[in-house]
């Protein structure tokens, strides 16, 4: 167990690689109850939440979620969030565990109208991910899951437990994130494991969650994105909807867009033995040019892969780089992402 933002979290149950492979080929079950939930309710809820994030809840349907940046006035990430639109009067933002209090304070300070409510202690969250996730959950619910598309959600019961059933995840596989009352989470966990046993469902920990998301180049807050990096630098321009109107951070972001970004978050593969790790220097012709933000041996792609910021001129696919691994420059190359296809 490790301490993760004050939560006791298992890094692994049986082994990172076995859990990773189970998610890619069958299904894995993650307890991600540490994630925070912040709610906007009442007249003007949608406008208020929308004024804080880069993506556009206005063009989403009820029952649809969007991935978005919550930015500071410099355009850097206060957090990355998934915003759920229940209705124009009800929006729920799922935020990172370590940012719960910071996000809540920021939203409270910057909301144009409706004040947010921190509901983090009212929800547990289980993520069931993998190609067999849907059939496993379907055995426990009357909701017609085939009608819930990616980034859509429904409220219903799973194994008798009232849940928000969201077709979202952080692994690159199909699957669901289930938000439920904390006192029912253990029952839901056991029911899912039981229902999925013959299909190969296994409990999965933080370690597999990290290798799975790294193979997809999904950003991890605090590693790949933070207060000092913008969505444009992080390759997340698609979560910025310029035609939605004002949002916090927009002027700074627009200024950066007009002059062009100076650095970009790229994916690279090692071309010599060695594994890139968070914090290692990225070099070019012997000069330090950036830093690795995430890296691992990818269990599915079977290569040592990494993510990091480099000057825009070095961000093109195929660009050779060097990663400083314990004082030794090891050859790497910028590649197309996601690493896993």
């Amino acid at each position: 167990m490790v301490d993760f933002a004050g939560w006791d979290m298992p890094v692994q149950y049986t082994g990172v690689v076995a859990e990773h492979e189970a998610v890619r080929t069958a299904a894995g079950l993650f307890d991600v109850s540490h994630m925070g939930e912040i709610e906007f309710r009442g007249d003007g809820a949608l406008e208020s939440a929308n004024a804080l994030i880069t993506n556009d809840l206005g063009r989403a349907a009820n029952g649809q979620a969007v991935y978005a940046g919550l930015l500071n006035h410099q355009g850097g990430f206060v957090d990355d969030v998934v915003a759920y639109r229940f209705s124009p009067e009800h929006v729920l933002l799922c935020v990172n565990a370590s940012n719960r209090e910071k996000d809540f304070a920021w939203m409270t300070e910057n909301t144009p109208r409706v004040r947010p409510v921190n509901r983090s202690d009212d929800f547990a969250q289980l993520a069931i991910q993998g190609p067999r996730a849907a059939s496993i959950v379907q055995a426990l619910t009357d909701l017609p899951l085939e009608s819930i598309a990616t980034y859509r959600f429904h409220e219903g019961t799973v194994a008798g437990v009232p849940c928000i059933v969201s077709r979202t995840g952080y692994t690159g596989e199909d699957g669901f994130e289930l938000y439920c009352p904390p006192d029912r989470a253990e029952h839901l966990w056991n029911a899912l494991l039981e229902a999925g046993r013959t299909a190969g469902l296994v409990p999965a920990g933080l370690g597999a969650r990290d290798t799975l998301r790294t193979e997809m180049k999904y950003a991890l807050y605090g590693n790949d994105i933070d207060d000092a990096h913008t969505p444009l630098e992080a390759g997340l321009g698609w979560i910025v909807k310029w035609d939605k109107g004002e949002f916090v951070g927009r002027p700074a972001l627009a200024a950066q867009k007009s002059v062009g970004v100076q650095r970009k978050l790229v994916g690279f593969e090692m071309r010599e033995p060695g594994i890139p790790r968070h914090g290692y220097a990225i070099g070019k012709d012997g000069q330090p040019v950036g830093e690795v933000t995430s890296g691992t041996q990818g269990p599915t792609v079977k290569r040592a892969i990494g993510i990091g910021y480099v000057p825009t001129a070095l961000a093109a696919e195929g660009t050779p780089l060097e990663i400083d691994i314990r004082g030794r420059p090891v050859r790497a190359q910028v590649v197309k992402t996601p690493f896993k296809r």
Binding site: V11, Q12, G15, A18, P273, I275, Q297
Partner: protein, 130 residues
Amino acid sequence: MAENPKNVRYTKDHEWARRDGGGVVVGVTAHAQEALGDVVYVELPKVGDAVTAGSPFGVVESTKAVSELFAPISGKVTKVNTALADEPSIINTDPYGAGWIVEVEPSDPSQLDALMDADGYNELLAKTAT
């Protein structure tokens, strides 16, 4: 967990050392591989490199962590387990056998006697278990 064999000596850093003819074979313990998790990369010294007891001589990496290897004894590397380059996971599956890491020609074979025996190592593990 696998039993810790009687015929090897142990360090507090969870390496083992076994006399084999004139040489000493070195690896990491069952406890070490379990704590590391799936080993995905091993950085080995070269044959002929000098190693010093208590000092790093290589690196083992799992999906989740990077750990230095500390030499149980001083001497010169005479063999490295090249099979680890293609299949580092044998450290997980057979830490005291096929998962050996290097063989060292000891400069002072009596250094082995200063290391823990299996009973001493089991005691250490029991004490550090939470």
